[in-house]
Each structure stands twice: as C-alpha cells, then as structure tokens.
Symmetry: C2
Subunit: 345 residues, 2 copies
DNA sequence: GGCATCAGTGGTAACGGTTACACTTTTGTA
DNA sequence: TACAAAAGTGTAACCGTTACCACTGATGCC
C-alpha cells in the first residue's frame, strides 16, 4: 500500500518540470518536444502514475462528470435508461455518478445537495416531486440540468427530453376505440408528474374526438412505487359498468396490474383488452403477449447525454431545448375487438 | 451564475477564521463555542455554502465514495443489485459512482483506471474477464475491493460475496431428478466466470450422486450478453435424444431461451420441464409460471456494502471475508414429473 | 498564588494538479 | 546577418479544504 506517485515524482524522474508533465497529460495545452514527451510517457508508465481527479477538479472549477438522478433502478425502464446513459456518456469520455431518489422528495433534495458538492458539470434527472428551489439553486450554480422522461413546468432554463406522452396515450386509446371499445379504463402515474398528467390528457383527447364520454371513475392516478396497480385493476373491474378495455399508462405498475388480472377469472383479450406502457422484454412472453407502447429508451439516453455534455462544453446555443421522441405502438394479442355482449342485467 | 461561496467567504462573513468554520463543518474535530457555532451555521445557511468535495478529497487522500462496477445494467439482476447497493450505501452516508463494463474486458480495464483516478475508497464489482494485474494494482493502491456474484480465484486480498452457486444448481437438479428426469440439459454462463463453472459443478455433483450419467453434449456454456440462450435451447432440443428437462443457469439468457421455446411446438411442462436461475418479477406471470432459483439480491447488496464501507473505515479485521448466501428454490408450474413416454422410434 | 490543563480560536502549510508568465533556444524571413 | 516569431521549458501562484501548531484566557487544583 505504497502511496501513489504524484506529478512531481514523474517530473523529477523524467528530469523535467511539472509543467511539461502536465502538458503531456493534457494534449494540446502547449508544445512539448517529441523526445521529452516520449521520456515522460515512459516514466508515467513505469511509475503507474494516475493523475488524481480531485486535484484537477479543484483547479478547473468543473469536472468531466455528469450526475444521473433516477427515481428507481428496480424499475426496468429506468434501469435500461441508466444503462444507455452510462454507455453514451462513456462514449464521450464522461463519467456518471448515479443517485436514486426512490421517488422520495427528501431523498431527492439530499441528492441535489450531493450533486452540488460534487460540482458535476451537468445533471440528468427524472424529477420526482417539486423541490423547486433546489433545482433552481442547482441551475443558478451553473450546472446544466436535463430532465428526462418527466418535467417540471415551472422551471426555466432546463432542457427536457421526453416521449410524446399525450400522443402515445392518444394512439393507444384510438387503437381501442377502433376495436369498438367505448368504456375504457386508464391507469396513470401520479398527477404530480408530467407523465402522469400528459398521458391522461392524450387519452381524454382521443375519447372526446371520438365522441365518447370520459368517466372520471375510470381514470386512476397511482404512485410509481408499490403495488397500487393491482388495486386499481380491482376497483375498475368491480365498477357497476366495468370497462371492456384498460390502458395501463404507468410503466411501474404493469406487473402488479397483470398479476391481479391473472388471479381473477377475467380472460384477456376476450373479456378485457389491455394496452400497456412499457418497454420490457417480457411483455411478449406472457400470455397473451401484450400490446404495448414501447418507449424508445435509446433515444432518450442519446439526447439527454448529448444535451448534458454539449452544454458542459458550451457547444449549444443559450436557448433551452425540448426534445420529444415518438413512442412506438406495438400491437400484439392482448387487445381485441370489443365483445358484442348484451349489457348485463 | 455567480460563483459559489467558499469557506473563506463564510469565515469573513461570520467574523471568524477558516479553521473555526472547518470545525463546525466537521463535527468533533475540535472545540467551538456554542455562540460561534450558531453564528457560523447561520452564515452557511445564508450564503448557501456547500463545501466542495474535490478540495476535501484532495486534502484527505480518500473519499466517501464507493465505485460500483457492474457487467450490465440492462440485465434486471444487476439493475436490482445496483438499486440495492445505492440504497444501502446511502444509508451509510456513502455515494456511489456507477460504471458498467458490458462484459467487455477492455472496458473493464478502462473502468478500473477511472476508479483509481477517482480515488474511491472501495470498489464493489462483478469481474468480467481476468484483468488480473489491473485488479492487483487497484488493491496495491489500498483500494478495498469486493467482488459480488462472481469471483476470480487467483486474486488475494479481495472480499467476496456470492450465492452458493453449486448448492443452488444441485438443488435444482435434485428437484428434477426427484421428478423422474434422467436426461437433463444445463445452460450456464461462460466457463471463464466462477458462476458459470460453479453451477455446472453443482449440477454434475447432483447427477453423479443420483447415479446418472452426465452427457457433456447437454451442458452449454454461453455468454451473458446476446441471445445465445435461444440457440442453446435449439441445439438441446434437436439432440438425437433430447433432454426432458432443462436448467437455465444463466440469468441473462432466460428470456431468449424462453422465447425460443414459445416459438416451438414444445409444451412446458408436459414435454419439457424448466428451472431457471432468476429473480425477475415476471417469472410468475408467464405461462406456465416458472420454477426458479431466486437469488437474494438484497443480501448480496447488504453484505457487499457492509464490507466495502467497513473496510474503508478500517473497522474490519485484516483477514479477507467470503460471504455466501443461500438462494431460494421456488417451485412453480414449469417443472413436472417426467413423461413415461416410450422412446421415439 | 503558582502552575498545569483546557476550551476556544487563528495562522498557515500541505494536498496534487493546472496555468500564466518569464525565460531560453530554435527557426524563419527580410 | 539581424531580428522577430515560435517552440520548448521552468517557476510559482492558485484552487478550497483540513490539520497541525501556537496562542490566549479561564478554570481547577494543590
């Protein structure tokens, strides 16, 4: 456990000054004679010298790291997003500090503080609650913030990357309407999140455009964590006039919703058509394979990293960006024509 | 975008020296009069002062951060592991830098360099290839390394946390043997990984103990990434004497294996019994619900963080630890008694 | 009353890099 | 040949924090 070599050790060993070593380290910051460079490189190699990130960050007041603040890694949607973000970031020579909020406002606030202390150049986040001042403080400090998947309307100066939530929900609804369904249930995320609201808005728009009434009883806003999906299904199915189709617009609740349906007598799609928001590989493995709105996670990752890194390097125009990507509608077997059944007495 | 306040700003504003502010910041490093403390705290609050992590790290030669080096976040097993690790780490006031290797040796080597530069106190990792000297260099530098899920035998001075892979495979095999299966296929991870080898070893042991021949043709070592699971299934099923049961001991390949089976005419469990290594929530949602070896991810996370943080604080005895946790066998409907069918002509 | 102890505070040298600037030496050009 | 420009190198200040040490009074104890 010998203490690691410093830049001065290298300089002494190579018979040059620290400035020269530093210039070798940071290509392009000044001229170095080829011979000298070779010599220095050799010594660096021999001493297994690694410049310490902390010292570098202290001097330059920013660092080549982006913070990734996600709601919940146990949710495959976020897990895959994280995977892609880490990947894309690395392709650009940038590292990622990962923090999770577990959808908790306090943890989110704490995490933002951490990111401030870490003086990251940019932050990619899925905001959970409102923590308005915290986010504002972060941006005031010059940290570039990119919201992905969700957003907070009240905040300015923040880039946003999302899927077209309203349009996606509209597509899903139109699909079911086209199949003859008139009573359609919708399970969404919390009304405090933009995704939770936007999807419902798109759903409403489709229904209204088709001249169908929207029964508020059939719209459920439930949290992303926990197992509220099953309960929501239970409530919907025990309505006096239960829906003949349900859209689960809350990615995290698909599993628990599905489990509840399996436990019941309800057959899919004969008794109930189902469309879910998800990008899980297993949606095609269950019976019947699910009709899904597939979120283009890769695109979300690419764009958010692009923005985060671009801003950090000052390559982008001042004007904040809003990137919306289309989700893909994948029809499988969980949605079918509405039964022509006579109304139950 | 005003530049953030420093400890000197706080000191000046509060009318004290920087030493006092530092002592307020780091409880227990020296006496501070109650009045003075209150005053300083007030100023810190007012200036929204956050000590810069970089400066702190430079001074103390370590930091309160652990590196988490995982193979593949898109794999739900690792994703959940990451989630738990981040969670457990935070509970101990420690942050996590996440890196992924995508099962690639070169990326792993790069990542280890990064961790050195970042001067993390500890690293929790799922080693991919051998990168022996890299790992050695890391430990030589005094970084505490904890391998989780997998291990590298040749390396000393590294803590290990795994499930009892051999025993789990043995359990799975015994379950199938007990159901009357005699030709059992096994799909494992790469032979270069300890999990890949250990599971096969346990399988062999069970077979031999039951006096059953182990046909090497029925044992497949395949990578964790990609879709080799489907191909392996294909090969197994087109054997002259196909197995009546298959254990998929490669978590990452369960999905692709399952998809292949769905595409075929084979019925589960009538024609083929299936036991898979996995801890995915969806294994109970497919038809039939899968018999699984459930890996106790929480335990893996708790123990590895415990070790990583404990070592960093010097709380643990020098002696390296090896923690093995039991996996849980969960019987569902994908495994059934072997058919008493007459051999096909 | 003298002296050791200690709470409370301030000054300042590290920590390990980067970088502005000064200083040689080489090269290019009139 | 002379002189300007450019290439190559070294010195030292700085980034923001902690830790060590020195200093001042107040308190305790014989």
């Amino acid at each position: 456990m010998k203490k690691p070599a410093t830049i001065r050790d290298v300089a002494r060993e190579a018979g040059v000054s620290v400035a020269v070593v530093s210039r070798v380290l940071n290509e392009g910051t000044g001229p170095v004679a080829p011979d000298t460079r070779a010599k220095v490189v050799e010594v660096i190699e021999r001493l297994a010298y690694h410049p310490r990130a902390a010292a570098r960050e202290l001097q330059q007041r920013t660092r080549s790291t982006i913070g990734l603040l996600l709601a919940d890694l146990a949710n495959p949607f976020f897990a895959r997003l994280a995977d892609r973000v880490v990947w894309e970031a690395r392709a650009r020579g940038v590292h990622v500090v990962l923090l999770t909020t577990q959808e908790d406002q306090h943890l989110e606030a704490e995490s933002i503080d951490t990111l401030i202390e870490r003086s990251v150049a940019s932050v990619i986040a899925t905001p959970a609650g409102d923590n308005l001042e915290k986010w504002k403080r972060l941006t005031d400090l010059g940290v570039n913030v990119v919201f992905v998947d969700r957003e907070i309307d009240e905040l300015e100066g923040i880039d946003v990357v999302t899927i077209r939530n309203d349009a996606s929900a509209e597509t899903a609804a139109n699909h079911l309407i086209g199949l003859g369904h008139t009573r359609i249930g919708f399970i969404s995320g919390p009304a405090t999140t933009s995704t939770g609201r936007d999807r419902v808005a798109g759903f409403r728009r489709a229904m209204e455009a088709a001249g169908l009434a929207v029964d508020d009883e059939l719209i459920h806003h439930i949290p992303f964590r926990g197992d509220a999906g099953g309960d929501a299904i239970g409530v919907l199915l025990s309505e006096p006039q239960p829906p003949s189709a349900i859209i689960v617009g809350n990615t995290a609740q698909v599993r628990s919703a599905l489990r509840r349906i399996k436990q019941s007598e309800i057959r899919v799609p004969e008794d109930l058509s189902l469309v879910v928001f998800d990008d899980n590989p297993w949606t095609e493995l269950v019976s019947p394979p699910l009709t899904v709105i597939r979120q283009p996670i890769d695109m979300l990752a690419v764009h958010s990293v692009e923005l985060a890194v671009g801003r950090a390097k000052g390559l982008l125009p001042e004007q904040r960006r809003r990137v919306e990507v289309d989700a893909e509608f994948v029809r499988r077997s969980s949605s079918a024509a509405a039964a022509q059944r006579t109304p139950t007495p």
